[in-house]
Symmetry: C2
Subunit: 589 residues, 2 copies
């Protein structure tokens, strides 16, 4: 510790939003170099390298072959697949001294496909699994939470190449099993959910989410075992409702009702229902967004959904990718859109406005609504979908709620949050087709190769494990990830204690147990606090008891401790460091 | 081999200039992704990782602590030290989505200094050695020779931090010793030479050069042990020569003498000397260059040197850094510069032209010259330096020659070529001062930290070792770097041979000897050729002799081979793989 390049901090960094970020900075594991860009100090790098080792071992175990592609990539392959444009402002672009276009790679589908095209030509060469552990770049609009969502980060990305979909399925299953092993070894709680594949294209995908209350991803679970990222959930479209008895739509004065709540209150006062009061669910809310295509073209889009639900922008965004969704503030340019009183009568690509109009599946055929009359202070009642208006299509626009019916029909949905740690998906032939990756099959015919793509956040895993394991005193690493297995604290100024502790550290080192020795001239209080912040799994205290031939062995996670005799110390510490020794709470406490 | 992601090529790639480039591509170790940017395929990556491991072990052994800084760096620290500008077009620059300036790090002096400033504050914290093994970027004007001079490459860069120069010297010595160990382990021939520190600043530096006839660096050696990069050699300035007897300068007609040879021929014909013929060494050649300062300002510079020597642009460039030297082609803008007939009379910052004029040290006070008269077809004779003209200063402009006197006075210089593999130097306080890196000394006074900087080309080392060890058949790796220690070739279609070879491979693997098994259905000729191209140190052939219970063990480098009985094969192959077994040429040849 007297020589280690580390300093612990007493205060959380000002920008820390999640515990892992605060503790990794306070414990001197990482430092911010720029927004979303971090440096790894010695302790942090050791954890990162431990994660890399675990990932490498499990990828090798399923026959993955490690390669390493450049991070600085030429534009051409990304043009061929359209991603140069599709990524929009989300990738870093630059020019070299000759003016040629380059990007900093976000993922490497193109380069891997081209490498296989370069080397392979026959079905005999397949299947193939290649992977890399590499620094990647994304120009995130909102880098946050330290290394949890950075702009420079380390990922393992692997790719499979198969002659057909059946063979691909086997590879996918192998990857899925390898991911389970990796996440089990990393030692945090996670779930596997169905997912959208986003800008990656492809037709089937699953995400591995670390459970975390502060996670950016929301997922749902059903009693029947269905689990999906909210972006992937498809609300069952209700059967058409008969509307023969519904009176013709009629416009009513509804002054000062720009919100759903004010509208419902007024409707119940002036136009009460016989059977029950009006609720927000009877109103049709129309929300305007601005949608920018990758090429740069922008157009408004109106989303219709029941008034008691909010728009979930992440779900909308996921369905409209690669287009980007932004807030709409161009009401001046679209006078037919009367803010607060927008109704479907003026919407739709076939309408006079030409404005695209998509509705939530709950706005199904025959449903009956109170909605805007496109005039300030007026709403229309008894407007029936399919009779009085026809949307351009359906979009999962509404937020999901705890208790919504599960798509598998097994009961109510449960909502929870997580951090995306891994994403595995079928790319199909999208990239192979765009780049001409074909091989000869058994009959000598050229067939396009089927690809799979498998990402795993290596630097993010460090943060996720930290989040999952830290407590109010600091970090508390699982044994396989800890920078050192044992932290020996010399408490007090006894020269004999320091000499003995140094000898213990040397013996541990020789026994293959990595050890951090706190040999500083600091107070015991400072040293104990640092040992708890730094989070090595086994702490050995050489302190007051040493004069009586005793040292204390502590378990950082459980807080359990016990005194052991100096002669037994080496064996007991080695046993604890290997997880073979449970500690009891000692009488001395 | 039937599953390894590799293909060997029969032809050299079109752009291969050096053997390492040709063989690394032909053997499927690397692939070009863009100019100066390469992908590492499985075999290449294994060699690279072996180099990384050796470097890491030796850096750890001198107390180096590994860290990892970002490659994508904010502009500000590089502005503080002036390098944002100084690097000119040699770094990659980019903007993020908010328009902030970033660069891709070429070296990390600034970031390391800032990290130490962030964590440390006292002399008690020092000395400190921290290092990283990391992907770096330089926008080379002429990327060449594969991974030997790339634009994205892997370097180990370390930095030392000391309270004073004495302490720094100890750290420098440790690094020097560690580099010697690393290069000895990598197993190629190298020399240590004095060097300029270039854009890095600082006051003392040494380079480790791999000997290579195709190397870009030229260095000199003297019989007395002096060794230096040519950029660093300082020609001894001769003592002033008395010129009392030299007649006044006189202009003569010298039509059609734009070259030194034509001028010498004419001088000997029309103005012969009594004592000996005129030679090129009697003429003063004045060469115009254009020099661009990092800010963008350009101005001509004239270099005067004896006519029998050429200008060495690399030496000139090194002395003028961070300015860039280019060919001059603006004679139209400078009518006083008469092409082919330029003389010092119109040159100098104090002259009418204001053009800077620097001369080679050989143009010392009192030397007498034939040189241009600044009029087409005329030269001036008996022009004496210090009497008839005074340069603005001296510059090492001339190429060095085999046989030139050594600066240490020990005799003639020998010239040779090499590849820069490592560069260690004293940065002094330049960076620490620019970034405010100060610590309290023993007396409580703030002192600026003394830094050292130590680079080592990790990816380049792969190429240098390949260059040093390959032969006309392919690569031939030293044992510590080889992707696999043993290559087992199954020659022929005998199922029993394949089964036995597979068992041998498994046993080798279990014995900790990495092994590549060629189990392909290919002809023995193809397999032998591939084994020689791929270059594993030990080759085992399971072929014709197998029926008689014999297999052949070959040494890839020496070509030595011998037959061993199948029962002894495992032990003998393990011994050879560990370098403990010399092979004799077998009788069967």
């Amino acid at each position: 510790m007297s020589q280690l390049f580390v300093r612990t901090l007493r205060e959380d960094p000002a920008d820390a939003e999640v515990p892992s970020h605060a503790w990794l900075v306070r414990a001197g594991y990482i430092r911010r170099a720029a927004p979303g860009i971090y440096s790894w100090l010695p302790l942090g790098l050791k954890v990162l390298q431990n994660v890399e080792r675990i990932v490498r071992e499990e990828m090798d175990a399923i026959g993955g072959q490690e390669v390493r592609f450049p991070a600085l990539l030429p534009r051409e392959p990304y043009d061929a697949t359209g991603r140069w444009t599709d990524y929009g402002p989300n990738i870093f672009r630059l020019k070299d001294r000759k003016g040629a276009d380059y990007l900093l790679g976000p993922t490497h589908e193109e380069m891997f496909a081209l490498a296989v095209k370069d080397l392979y030509s026959s079905y005999k060469d397949l299947p193939l699994t290649i992977y890399q552990i590499q620094t990647k770049y994304r120009d995130e609009p909102r880098p946050r939470a330290g290394i949890l969502r950075g702009r420079e980060f380390i990922m393992k990305d692997s790719y499979t190449f198969d002659i057909d979909v059946d063979s691909f399925r086997e590879q996918y299953a192998l990857h899925r099993a390898a991911y389970i092993k990796i996440f089990d070894r990393l030692g945090f709680e996670y779930v596997i959910v169905s997912a959208m594949s986003g800008a990656m294209g492809g037709s089937a995908s699953e995400e591995f989410l670390a459970l975390s209350e502060t996670g950016e991803d929301t997922f749902v679970r059903s009693p029947g075992g269905y689990a999906a990222n909210v972006e992937a959930v498809r609300t069952p479209t209700p059967d058409p409702v008969p509307y023969d008895d519904v009176p013709a739509a009629h416009v009513e004065d509804t002054p000062d009702t720009p919100t759903i709540a004010s509208l419902v209150a007024l409707a119940n006062e002036r136009f009460p229902r016989d059977d029950r009061p009006w609720t927000g669910a009877d109103t049709l809310k129309n929300v305007v967004l601005m949608v920018s295509e990758p090429g740069g073209k922008s157009a408004p889009l109106v989303l219709g959904l029941p008034g008691d639900r909010e728009v979930d922008l992440k779900r909308v965004q996921a369905q409209l990718e690669p287009a980007e969704v932004e807030v709409f503030d161009a009401f001046d340019d679209y006078p037919m859109l009367v803010k607060g009183y927008i109704g479907p009568q003026v919407l739709g690509e076939e309408s006079g406005s030409g404005i695209r109009y998509l509705v939530d599946p709950r706005v199904g055929e025959g449903t009956r609504w109170i909605t805007g009359a496109n005039v300030n202070g007026q709403h229309v009642f008894d407007l029936v979908a399919g009779r009085d208006f026809t949307p351009d299509g359906y979009l999962e626009a509404a937020e999901l709620r705890e208790g919504d019916p599960a798509p598998d029909g097994s009961g109510p949905l449960e909502l929870a949050r997580g951090i995306e740690m891994g994403h595995i998906f079928q790319l199909g032939t999208r990239y192979a087709e765009a780049l001409g990756l074909r091989v000869l099959d058994q009959n000598g015919k050229l067939v396009t190769v089927t690809m799979g793509s498998y990402g795993l956040g290596v630097s993010r895993a460090v943060a996720a494990v930290a989040d999952n394991t830290c407590d109010e005193k600091g970090l508390a690493w699982p044994r396989e990830l800890a920078p050192y297995k044992v932290h020996v604290v010399v408490a007090g100024k006894d020269a004999a204690a320091l000499a003995w502790a140094t000898e213990l550290a040397t013996s541990l080192d020789e026994a293959g147990v990595t050890v951090l020795l706190d040999d500083r001239k600091a107070s015991p209080g400072v040293k104990f606090a640092d040992a708890e912040i730094l989070g090595m799994p086994t702490i050995v205290v050489v302190g007051r008891g040493f004069a009586d031939g005793l040292v204390e062995v502590r378990d950082r996670r459980s807080g359990e401790r016990r005194d052991v005799g100096v002669d037994d110390a080496l064996a007991e510490v080695v046993a604890h460091a290997h997880g073979r020794l449970d500690l009891e709470v000692s009488v001395r406490g």
